[in-house]
């Protein structure tokens, strides 16, 4: 009874150069977890055709669902749609359905549907469109790959369109406690607890704050009662812990 799996491919030089901090991965991770889908891997690659092709082909073969973000705008460095089409061996061109969406949008806003903007109507054959309620230019789904925009508000709107169509599992639940002790002091008890609850994941995340070390212990699983039982054991083991 394992949960469906997902992976994400983030496309963008600006993240790899350190200029921009990615926000979409953290958002998607939380949304998938709530939906009962386990995000198992994320890859971040540059705006490079072969890197995108290799990344999406590796991920779509290994996981149930793949979400990409970035590189579907109107400029010369937006090469995601072409690369995804190539990864699937599909032709790509301006498609009538996507073009109609852009025509309506730009007519309403009084802006021109110029050649650059028309690039955003380039959709691989057989793909279905993903609605973009923010700025019209659609994403698309090809088999198990969902190609979305990189601008966070648009990415989030596209996730909201696609998520209900994905088969989820039992929601992945978690509870955590904070123990203000060195990780090495509590490691043996945590290992024993992990053995006691093999169906749960017991994670240990050390931190340092104001010069003091502590550990966040996170119990994850899909059985709420079992998580409660593990949390009760943790509270016994570390009576000083902060829930």
């Amino acid at each position: 009874m394992s949960n469906p799996t997902a992976a994400m491919l983030v496309i963008g030089d600006e993240i790899l150069s350190g200029r921009t901090r990615d926000a979409n991965m953290h958002y998607l991770a939380g949304a998938l977890t709530k939906h009962g889908i386990a995000l198992k891997e994320v890859r971040i690659v540059s705006d490079d055709r072969q890197a995108i092709i290799d990344g999406v082909n590796a991920l779509r073969a290994a996981y149930d669902t793949v979400v990409t973000s970035g590189g579907i705008g109107p400029t010369h460095d937006d090469i995601t749609a072409e690369a995804i089409a190539a990864a699937f061996g599909k032709p790509i061109d301006v498609r009538a359905d996507a073009r109609a969406i852009l025509e309506t949008h730009y007519k309403a806003s009084g802006a021109e549907l110029n050649e650059a903007r028309l690039r955003m109507a380039r959709i691989p054959e057989d793909a279905t469109l993903i609605d973009n309620p923010i700025s019209a230019a659609p994403g698309f789904t090809l088999e198990n790959v969902h190609v979305m925009a990189g601008v966070p508000v648009i990415f989030q709107a596209m996730v909201a369109s696609v998520l209900p169509t994905l088969t989820g599992g039992a929601p992945l639940l978690s509870q955590s406690i904070r123990v203000d002790r060195g990780e090495g002091e509590i490691a043996a008890q945590l290992a024993a607890l992990a053995d006691e609850f093999p169906a749960l994941s017991i994670g240990s995340y050390p931190f340092q704050r104001d010069g003091a070390f502590g550990v966040n212990v996170v119990v994850r699983g899909s059985d709420a009662a079992m998580i409660d039982a593990a949390m009760a054991r943790l509270a016994e083991l570390f009576p000083e812990a902060v829930i």
Copy 2:
């Protein structure tokens, strides 16, 4: 005259579940860029032995340098050192040099070097140690792979130890301007500019703020004079732009 390349492997369920926002990738990206090393790919995998082995083997074959973060603490879910040893086909055990570092540290702090903490002295054969000035437990380098802690302050200290040992290239420079227009309006001029300066990377990053769309245009390269020339052209093309 291309720059040396690097990749990063982030290990940790807590990031993939959306519980924690990774901070190390953004830090490393900035540090490498300043050092003239191009970060080309990042992979984030869970605390899973095979995922770590596959990730590190793919990345170390493809890039000059690989940095990993996470999974080298004392608890049962810290399996990075074992997985890296397996990826290289090297034996791993408690090593005298690492053990001596921990003995000195825990003697000074009055804490016990128990079995869990001793796990942090498990270092693959032939690896060299990476200094940890914060909490003693070392990272290690095996060929072109640098294995570092996930706690940000420790990660950053380890990056500071390793970075001077890496061959850098000409620093990767960048300048940017903000154009408060839709990306589709300026795409044709940007594409022409990219053709005009093939040695530079002209990136276009749309944003939305307070309901208005705009674009950050980023010019990257290692030739400062050439970047200045491209920026001058941008200022001509978009006189209203904010530098």
